[in-house]
């Protein structure tokens, strides 16, 4: 199947509902991902190593690199306190973590909300209930550039940030080529929105 076995795909899942957390955790495990779940945006930032406020008394405050590498963040949109959108913004504003793809989940199909998230840099927007097929498709797109890079450079060390950014762009294009191969609009954000609408219209009941 060509699955990378050295480094497991690690996902950080954020949802305030215990029920939804259990669901997404199981879905991700079934997709062969390693999962960490947290119940709020602020806990997610904490886990990543991003402090909300600088605590000069805290000896760990200067360290921002987490012990685990997160390959994807998947978050609920509607959460008390920090929403999924707020979390997305914080991640994308951070130099250290902006390259981590963020997926937003919501039980409500609100086109304006979807556009807003995609424009802020969300990788995908999933309508709940998230299906296994949604995740396996997402994962195969996430893994492609990673597999390609690993096969091209057998002795790869630290990858420069620029390269990672380019690979994210490749992922986006690949994803939408598959979702809608007939569409040839050059504007990336329009493609995303339209594709998401199409995806949503087929899954919406």
């Amino acid at each position: 199947m060509g699955v990378v076995t050295e480094s497991q795909f690690h996902v950080l899942a954020v949802d305030d509902s215990p029920f939804d957390r259990k669901m997404i955790e199981r879905l991700l495990q079934k997709s062969s991902c390693q999962v960490t779940t947290v119940d709020s945006g602020s806990k997610a930032l904490e886990f990543l190593g991003l402090r909300e406020s600088n605590e000069s008394d805290d000896p760990n405050a200067t360290s921002t690199s987490p012990e685990v590498e997160i390959n994807l963040i998947i978050t609920d949109y509607c959460m008390p306190g920090m929403t999924g959108y707020d979390l997305l913004k914080r991640v994308k504003e951070s130099a250290a973590f902006r390259s981590i793809p963020v997926v937003i989940m919501s039980s409500e199909n609100v086109p304006a909300r979807i556009s807003r998230c995609l424009e802020e840099g969300a990788e995908e927007f999933f309508l709940k209930p998230v299906k296994l097929a949604d995740l396996t498709k997402l994962k195969s797109h996430m893994m492609k550039p990673k597999l390609k890079k690993e096969s091209e450079k057998p002795a790869a060390e630290v990858k420069p940030e620029i390269e990672e950014k380019e690979s994210s762009v490749i992922e986006i294009l690949t994803l939408h080529q598959e979702l809608d191969s007939e569409q040839q609009e050059p504007v990336l954000s329009n493609n995303k929105r339209k594709s998401m609408e199409e995806v949503i219209s087929t899954t919406d009941r």
């Binding site: 509902s17 215990p18 029920f19 939804d20 259990k22 669901m23 199981r26 879905l27 495990q29 079934k30 509607c78 039980s107 409500e108 709940k128 209930p129 299906k131 296994l132």
Partner: protein, 134 residues
């Protein structure tokens, strides 16, 4: 016993208590997680009991805070959809429509029906899980 389990499940689908989303849950169950469906159902009923209680209290107070009621119901509908609780989901949708229309009487009526459907589903799923264990 397997046949009885299959029959119970089939009737749940035929009578519209469950929809295909329940089958998605079953896909997630495997040898490593043999009780996933029951675990998630237990979580659902715990969560929804709490929401029902909140709504009951809000309705008993008499002052209809439709925004708050809608917000409770949003959560309830979300988890009901995720578990495949078809009839409960339908009642949730109706309740939210009444909230948006500011129709208190409609809310009360629908909520009564919702609680009934919820209780029925709970009983039937308990039967199903019991039968699956034998």
């Amino acid at each position: 016993m397997q046949r009885q389990v299959a029959l119970i499940k089939q009737s749940l689908f035929d009578q519209g208590y469950l929809d295909e989303q329940f089958m998605e849950l079953e896909e997630l169950q495997d040898d490593a997680n043999p009780n996933f469906v029951e675990e998630v159902a237990t979580l659902y009923f715990k969560d929804s009991a709490r929401l029902i209680n909140n709504i009951d209290q809000a309705l008993e107070r008499g002052s209809f805070d439709f925004n708050r009621l809608d917000s409770y119901m949003h959560q309830f509908k979300g988890s009901s959809t995720s578990i495949g609780a078809s009839k409960v989901k339908t009642e949730c949708t109706m309740f939210r429509e009444y909230c948006r229309a500011g129709n208190a009487e409609g809310c009360l009526r629908t909520f009564k029906q919702l609680k009934k459907e919820h209780a029925t589903l709970r009983k039937k799923l308990e039967q199903y899980f019991q039968a699956s264990k034998r």
